[in-house]
């Protein structure tokens, strides 16, 4: 019973969503909106579990003095600070006014955003190191990859003159023919795989996500 009820729910709701896709009227759209709102509601409850998990794991790390135990302290302090300022010291517990709190805005703008930008900017260096590894001509295929990459990169060189025009044309061909063909093949495979997986979930064949009785 504990397993059959969730399976029935999954099957019924999946069927509703499939029918909804083909029925465009107001009732169908309202049903879709209603079900999507449920995802938000469940997400809010799950967020409480998530925060509790974060606090528990961080506390355990601090208590057991695991390597790098100082970092969870920063995590918990950051979490507490954002909650306190976000609720504007408890004065705006039920309203959004706490989000306009001076400290809340400044912590977000001058700490979180620069840190995010720093993390994102690391990508440039990682791309360089990954490219170095990918373009080592160790085999015929790797050499072809290296040549293709050189052509694509060199087309931006302003000093190549007429030769640059040929590189531009070759680049367009590389991007629009072999590259696009491979991408489309992957996308078609993904689409079929997604439909097959959805079908397996709907029919209860794939049920790892349900846990055990």
């Amino acid at each position: 019973m504990k397993r059959q009820v969730p399976l029935m729910l999954v099957f019924t709701l999946a069927l509703v969503m499939i029918v909804q896709y083909f029925v465009p009227n107001d009732f169908s759209l309202d049903t879709n909106e209603f079900l999507l709102k449920w995802i938000i509601i469940i997400g809010i409850f799950a967020m409480a579990l998530g925060i509790w998990s974060l606090i528990r794991v961080s506390y355990e790390k601090i208590r057991r003095r695991v390597p790098g135990w100082q970092y969870p302290i920063a995590t918990l302090l950051g979490l507490a600070a954002m909650i306190v300022f976000g609720f504007d010291y408890g004065r705006h517990f039920y309203t959004q006014e706490g989000l306009e709190n001076y400290m809340f805005i400044h912590l977000f703008q001058y700490i979180i955003i620069p840190i995010q930008a720093t993390m994102f900017s690391l990508l440039a260096f990682y791309i360089a190191s990954a490219a170095y590894r990918a373009f080592r001509a160790r085999s015929v295929l790797a050499t072809v990859l290296l040549l293709a990459a050189l052509i694509v990169m060199l087309r931006f060189n302003p000093y190549l003159g007429t030769f640059g025009v040929y590189l531009e044309k070759t680049t367009s061909w590389l991007l629009n023919v072999p590259n696009l063909a491979a991408k489309r093949a992957i996308i078609i495979g993904l689409g079929l795989g997604a439909v097959a997986t959805a079908l397996k979930v709907m029919l209860g064949i794939e049920r790892a996500y349900l846990g055990r009785d």
Partner: protein, 409 residues
Amino acid sequence: MKFKIMILGCLLLALALPALAQDSVKTVEASAIPAISPPAPATNVTAMDSPNDNGHSLTLRWTLSADDGAGQKTVLGYKFLRSFFPDSGFVLREGMAPSGSSEYVDMGGRKPDDRDFMPNDTDYYYIVRAITADSNVYSDSPVIGPVKAVGQLYNVGRTLVLVFVLCFAAITIFFIRRARKGAKLFVRRLAGIEAVDEAIGRATEMGKPILYVLGLGTAADIATIASFTILGRVAKKVAEYQTGLIVPCYDAIVMTVAQETVRTAYLDAGRPDAYNDDMVYYVTSNQFAYVAAVNGTMLRQLPATNIYMGTFYAESLLLAETGALAGSVQISGTDQVAQIPFFVVACDYTLIGEELYAASAYLSREPILLGSLKAQDYGKAAIIVISILGIIASQFRWNWFLELFKAGN
């Protein structure tokens, strides 16, 4: 005295000349713009319910005014007036159709509190107005109506999708039934999946944990659902080999499902005591904060194996490169085509495209799951055949064949 009168006359003339000159300019300007005569009105106006929608929308069609692109060429476009009555209460609608166009979709709001609510099953009357550069010069078509907006029960434009889904579902169910009866189904070797067992063994030998990253997808994403299944298989092996498992989560719902999946795997492996809720934990729902936390875990705990399965975006390379620097064996799979090259470069094994969805069947070797893989192969074969036929049809201009595969909204 005469001299004074002359000076006064000259001054008056000097003052009057610019004014006279301006008057003459105005006269010239006025005469440069010819008066616009009212254009010919739009004719054969029809109004009908827009197809394949939830209503709240009507489609107007007309034959162009004789002065639109021809005749006097004075028509700049068309505006529309709508009323609930045939003889009064016409109100100008916000939108307009440019000259040369002969169709306009008048869309309104769906709900009563929407700004431009347009109720269904209500009579509407329309006038199509051909407008010119002069806002006072236009010509109206005769009133057309009544017409009602109605929500449809079936979107005809999606018939092709329905046919495809039904065919594919039928093939899948056929192969699943065949597999249940014991038919042997060949599945090609997936190096990335075969490496999972090897990687878990390596982690056990090294005495280091396995890091499993579910990506940034939600629990509703197919890639994440496929990843849960793989996580289940990996967790079972990890429990059998008594290795450590770390699953940092980006989404709280994903964390809850992942905890249940891992707990079940440990129960199946007969090691419920080894399971701990803290193996699967929530980090944050902020992309780069999540990356920072996972990268920190990689560099501090140095996992023997990192497995990335699910939906990934810009963080794919940040994670995989850090893992490579930490010396971990890395296995990845994602449904995001743009991220596959990053994983290919930085990981030891990468599941490309639908291999991510095939992984659970491949790992379990359950005939029912393998049956769905066969259906996917037949689906791909059908798409290849249709693509070749499409190329031939476009070469020979068999438009009827191409029209068959045109999907609507």
